[in-house]
Symmetry: C2
Subunit: 339 residues, 2 copies
């Protein structure tokens, strides 16, 4: 192993924040040389975690406008007050169209980002695939090995992409806003069904009454779902990130959730499932990129694009033909239809 | 060409609904034999559309709880009243966890589903990739060729997946609910920035005042975005699917949008972009599936899964090794790093 990597690991576990930033940059790099070093570093972290892992890793999901980042900051600051180390993995909200955001992550979580017991890492939106950063699992591994015990992973999107982040985390927190609970009967189950904890945010001012109604609607709806986690029924709380109310209750719930998941070793079993899911997901991304970047595929695609430009093509036929080319590119493949 | 396919096409363009259902099932099939037939059928449709295409294809997006399906039904019914033919492509809301929904699509859009001028097709949630059904583009092509002139595509998720559906449609309608406009300044731009029309739904009862506030907040926010479409500035309307108010205005906006997009042939240009995007996306999915289903990859993955079970593995190292195997499986590939 590269002696620099051993040294970096030593610094990391001593709590060196600069080293942590460097380590994250290393594992995010796609250069072959960096990847090898990054993997050595991650292997040291994995060994440390096998002996002792104090962390709970929670996906935080919610539609735009529900106050996700404000609430993450409120929860994070309160957890720091209680002596916890808080790691936050977010997606840089920079629009992928205009390549720039008015406000960056530092100003989204201004208080938390300056706390010595918190570490916020933003992945660029461009590296997000299916709701998770390409290297989020690596980030989580680094944070946990260094001793961050509350790791919050902000997800992007509501829907299919939530399934991805659900697979890689220990618990799923859904943030909703007052109103909207009325459509829960069967129709929008998909995402709510994943939630271990539902937080009705913005339970303040004129929305307070509506928040209580929404809470009750979710409470009823959650009863219809079969429990996903042994020994845990999904809980629902109201809170206000703005007024700071209900945040203690959220942290109590997280602590309770963690302790129950640790019982009967069912968190340990699930961590293994997280690893297998991550491995598959990661290889799917690689597979896609390798074939789409293959010179022959690129060439055929470029030709097809030119034909589309000239109105000269059935794209469905063309897709079928390039599909067959891709099949022929792979060594000794079975003649399965790729389904 | 298979004479049955010519026959099916003849039935289709005569407005035979049973034939349309059969055609959709055919193009959704993954069997090689069906795929060839389906592609022949789609080629006939493409030729018809090249001569004349009356359709506008709109992605309808919004977070769970904003009343998306109720609003789609209200818009669809009103459009039918006005003499339009309405095609709706939705995702079956059946939870992918419990494999069943309390209410199906028929009861979600009970009125529209019985209208002879409307056709609703649900894709199973399992076939959704990145917010779109695997064969949504095929469905759209069939509907447009048959003469459905208002095609509404319900999207899944808010975030990355919205980009996918944005790429394959002519316009993007974002449905929001009252409240939540306050976070628009820079933070949640990504999705709002895509919208050509924003609808503030639930502008009824006690939420009416808040709806107007939200409308104004979006109005202000939309000014900050650079226009995505030549000659069109994003518009925002309030409406109530419940009371039926504002629906006429939505349809007027859609008609105006369509006519402006047709001017200067910029819809024609964009349709070509839709085709290139669809081709890439479709081939990415195929690439991923082919390699992940390769016997050697499956074997190595199964081995890695067993090692994970025995706590006997660095998954990051293992991912790297299987990645290298995948690289070696592809004929005469360049030694690029797959990024």
């Amino acid at each position: 192993m590269d002696p620099n990597i051993s040294l970096l690991f030593e610094k990391l576990i001593k709590g060196d924040r600069v080293a942590l930033g460097q380590a994250m940059t290393l594992v995010e790099s796609e250069r072959d040389e960096d990847r090898k070093k990054g993997i050595d570093l991650l292997e040291l972290c994995e060994k440390k975690l096998q002996a002792h892992d104090p962390s709970i890793r929670l996906a935080i999901s919610g539609s735009p406008g529900v106050g996700k980042s404000t609430l993450i900051e409120a929860i994070g600051l309160k957890a720091v007050d209680q002596g916890r180390k808080v790691g936050v993995i977010t997606i840089d909200p920079s629009s992928s169209l205009s390549h720039g955001s008015i406000l960056g992550d530092k100003s989204r979580m201004a208080g938390l980002s300056t706390s010595p017991s918190a570490f916020i890492r933003s992945s660029p939106a461009g590296s997000v695939l299916g709701g998770m950063g390409r290297r989020s699992h690596e980030m989580i591994t680094l944070l946990a090995a260094v001793g961050y015990d509350l790791i919050l992973i902000e997800t992007v999107g509501v829907g299919q992409s939530e399934h991805t982040s659900w697979q890689f985390t220990d618990g799923f927190i859904l943030i909703v806003q007052p109103g909207g609970g009325d459509e829960l009967q069967g129709i929008k189950r998909g995402i709510t069904e994943l939630a271990d904890i539902v937080i009705v945010n913005k339970a303040d001012g004129e929305l307070k009454g509506l928040a209580m109604q929404t809470r009750n609607q979710y409470q009823t709806a959650l009863h219809y779902f079969s429990p996903l986690r042994e020994g845990w029924e999904p809980k629902i709380v109201t809170c206000s990130a703005l007024e700071g109310s209900g945040i203690d209750e959220v942290l109590d719930l997280i602590r309770l959730y963690h302790s129950i998941r640790l019982k009967n070793a069912n968190l340990e079993i699930e961590r293994k499932r997280q690893k297998t899911s991550w491995l598959s997901w990661s290889l799917e991304i690689t597979s896609k990129q390798l074939l789409m970047n293959h010179p022959m595929v690129r060439h055929s695609l470029a030709e097809a694009f030119a034909e589309i430009e000239n109105d000269n093509l059935s794209i469905f036929k063309s897709a079928f033909e390039i599909e067959n080319m891709i099949k022929a590119l792979i060594h000794s493949t079975n003649s399965n239809s790729g389904s």
